[in-house]
Amino acid sequence: MEDLNVTFKTSKGPVRANEGISLEIREGEILGLIGETGCGKTTLGKAILRLLSGNAKIEGKIVYRDTDLLSLPEKEMRFFRGKEIGIMFQNPSACLNPVLSTGRQIAEIYRYHEGMGKKEAEEKAGEILELVGINSLRGHDYPHQFSGGMLQRVMVAIGLALSPGLLIADEPTKGLDTDTKLQIAELIAGLVRRENASMLLITHDLELAGSFVDRIAVMYAGEIVEVGKTAEVISNPKHPYTLDLLHSLPGSGFRTVSGQAPGLLSPPQGCRYHPRCSFRLEVCSQVHPALRGFCDEHLTRCFLSEKGRRKETAARPSLTLQSAPSGVEKEGAWNC
Amino acid sequence: IDEETEGTAEGAEAGEGSQDLVVGVGTDVSSWYLDMFASGDARFVWAQVYETLVRLDSDLNVIPGLAESWESSDDGKTWIFHLRENVTFHDGTPFNADSVVFSYSNQSYVRQAVLRPVQSVEALDDHTVQFVLAKPMPLPFYLTHIAWPVMGPSCLDAEGNFVKPVGTGPFKFDTQAKDQEIVLTKNEAYWGEQPLLDKVTFKVIPEAATRVIALETGEVDMIIKVPEYDVARLEAEEGIQIHRKLTTFTDFLQFNCEKSPFDDTRVRQSVAYAIDTETLVNEVLEGIGEPAGGRAYSPVMMYSDPDLETYTPDLDKAKDLLEEAGWKDADGDGIAEKDGEPLHVTLIVSKGVWAARHNPMAQVVQGTLREVGMDVEIQVLDEGAISKLESAGDFDMILRSGYFVWGPYPRHFFVHHSGNPYSHYNNETYDQLVDEADMTLDSQEQEELYHSLQAFVTEEVPAFYLVHEEKVVATGPAVNGYVISSEDPWLNLSGIYLERT
């Protein structure tokens, strides 16, 4: 993805749900995407497959294995959906057709993509349902007869059915109890690894991300604010938002940060996190920081790190910037 | 008749192919038995299967039918008919006096209606029948009606249920598919002139426009009741022939003479002067028909008075008459008033088969009467509603047709007789004239009486007679030798033969 912008036209003006997103998902990699709710994760996932609603405008470049998806005509886009790039939606109760039995909705995929017979496809559907922990007999049931977690798992089953080259999973484990969650996560990850496929895992579950994901990208208010190897980001977060996020986990004290995510209609000037940031600098409110490398493959969008300073949780740094941010780029001294 | 058709018979032999005629009619035959009236176009079919004792030729002259001759006693109360011999019904049973007795027995509905005065029908011998009446009556005229023909007693089974039509006519009943078609085949044993056709199929096509197209496409060879507005167009079409002849039907505006404003003869006369019946014929009916100008008897009818003075339209006269009657437009709104009441009248039109011609006629009448200051409200109603208003006397005018169904039928004038509950007209002189005419047997006297009746109606206007209708039949290219007859429910197929290319 290069410099991806997604704007939704609304009655109030454009909502910039994704702004200047450049991100790559490598072959065989699981990339975790975390971030504040409403920051544009789902939008990003849908944008890849061009499934956004009519009022969305996508600009930039999305290249999948040498194909620029955004320039494809709608007809050809179809060949990338499902088989090449699969997606598990976030809201299963709205994304399953209420008048078709779940089994049929899964079987359909096999029949369409693999040309299976009806019988065979239904059997396969049963198998994959069993795989996500649902009795295959329930394939005859309709979505409204399923519990929230079961629908979630049906979504997973549908996403996995084709073992796509790239899987976009939007919170695939929400609403599942811990055991099932792990089981499902392992199932997905296992499959992806086995097929040497890639995955974009959108989640709010940092623990899950911690244990299954190769790299993590953190989003805030429509922008990527930090990307890096999982261990790096979790243990050594560079952006104050990532840090706050980690602190807010129930395990680490449930600490909350005051304030609310900015509206995407008119995001704050400068760094978008600055109103809530506890390390706020003067420049933060004026200049929009760029995403840059902090150390090998660890990028962040924060002025603090630009100076190569590691944040200390306790101290409030009193740094001032000497030069304009545009000049900072050339600075090569990045400490790891 | 014999002489006329001889020549065409040769033509038939020369003609190739089947002699199966297809006729498009508007309604099906719902009843084949004499306990009910053969309504609508059923009579055209009956006319092929059944025959009457007395018949009319195509110009409405009385000629022998199944009865070769007849005579009456001097008082006109006893009628003796001498029946034709060697006639057999379609099923082979002989036609004789018993079958006549059967046909005019008490179970035939005519005995409850117009033939009520008949006290007894008896077979004097095998081929002589005697009708005894309660009052003098020109019975043969009545017996020309095709809805009251002679049927074979064998049309009933042992229990007295109707099984199938058994007549003596030139064609035999073959099959019937309800509301689709009736198939008749040639009666090889017909007593009269042999029909040239082998088979006649009547197709039921209720919609006139469809009937016309069916003729144009050749799906049928002949259609009856061709709409006036299609006549000119069809005439111009190659191969299609239009046959027209004046009939006994006359459209008329019947007044409610029992209530204001039409209880005043002057007001009725004013209407008569206002309406230009020639315009009606020319502009509404495309020139088909003959303007009546108040004349009750169509010129084709026996006793129609050729010298009768009819109305010529005169709006000023009409207005004067109205004014004389007290109706004057005082407030200048174009509507006359009397005692402050505006001249507002209702005109009832039936929604039935006549609607197509009566609707525009009624509107023209409305428009015309408006000019003399009469505000006419048209109400298009179904028969039930009309009969209700009629018996309650809750109307001013009715536009109707068809009382004068066929031939020299003396009963016609009963329509305004005070004995008729629907007449809404009370005039002793008139009643007397009608009764007298009905009972007179001497044709000289009859003629005089009927002439004076016509004059009376024109003068007193219990109804204003508008248009004498013309019967229009169209035939396709294959049809030869058709001669149209004035008698309307009668369809004369005797001379027809087909030449298909």
Binding site: F8, T10, S11, K12, I34, G35, E36, T37, G38, G40, K41, T42, T43, S53, N55, Q90, N91, P92, S93, A94, G133, I134, D141, Q145, F146, S147, G148, G149, M150, L151, Q152, R153, E171, K174, G175, L176, D177, T178, D179, K181, H204, L206, D244, L245, L246, S248, L249, P250, G251, F254, R255, T256, V257, G259, Q260, A261, P262, G263, L264, L265 | -
Partner: protein, 232 residues
């Protein structure tokens, strides 16, 4: 006296067009919740938690069993008593994406209960909505969007705001934070907790996150196959 008492509640689902199938989603459940207390409800996915939550509120007619709210059997409630119950017992649904009327804007969705129960004056309405949406950490710019134009987490918080506006005494919270990031989740949960402390609200709190349930609840019930097998 306990605020809510559930006695041997059963809810069976019948399905099948021509042949009957019965699914015993809730099969004889009894529990009590005191005022100001939270009962956590955990259990494997599909064990009947949501069904229980909805049946307790009588959104589903129970197959059998009783639900007593402040000592009264709510199954007999009608008319204004039932209407009144609306402001006292509420539920935050598990699937916010389908729980909002697709043709109603967010503002209308939040204001709906307020108007319905006349919980505030007409002229204070807007202010109240503003307040509510901010308590769930959302920006006001969302107010005039349709549900289809919001993210999962935003929908979920709107569902919460809508319920909070009524200041109910008892709330069934069916995985109220499943779509929220930890930061916001912490905010919302703290909000719920502080509301509980200030107003004595009781919760039936359904969640899969053991940490969260532990943090929220006074007591935890464990469900399996439609029955409560353990109280912790």
């Amino acid at each position: 006296m306990e605020l809510l008492k559930v006695e041997d509640l059963k809810k069976y689902y019948y399905s099948g067009l021509f042949k009957k199938e019965v699914r015993k989603a809730v099969d004889g459940v009894s529990f009590e919740i005191e005022r100001g207390e939270t009962l956590g409800l955990v259990g494997k996915s599909g064990c009947g938690k949501s069904t229980l939550g909805r049946t307790v509120l009588r959104l589903l007619e129970p197959t059998s069993g009783r639900v007593l709210f402040t000592g009264q059997d709510i199954s007999g409630f009608k008319g204004s008593a039932l209407k009144n119950l609306g402001t006292r017992m509420q539920i935050i649904f598990q699937n916010p994406e389908s729980c909002l009327n697709p043709k109603m804007k967010v503002y209308e969705a939040i204001v709906e209960p307020l108007r319905l129960h006349r919980l505030c004056k007409r002229d204070e309405e807007r202010e109240r909505v503003q307040e509510l949406i901010e308590t769930v950490s959302l920006s006001e710019e969302l107010l005039f969007r349709y549900p289809g134009e919001l993210s999962g987490g935003q929908l979920q918080r709107i569902a919460i705001a809508r319920v909070l506006g009524m200041k109910p005494e008892f709330i069934v919270a069916d995985e109220p934070t499943s779509m929220l990031d930890p930061l916001v989740q912490a905010q919302i949960l703290s909000l719920l907790k502080s509301l509980q402390e200030n107003y004595g609200i009781s919760f039936l709190f359904i969640s899969h996150d053991t940490e969260v349930v532990k943090w929220m609840s006074d007591e935890i019930a464990v469900m399996e196959e439609g029955k409560i097998i353990d109280f912790r």
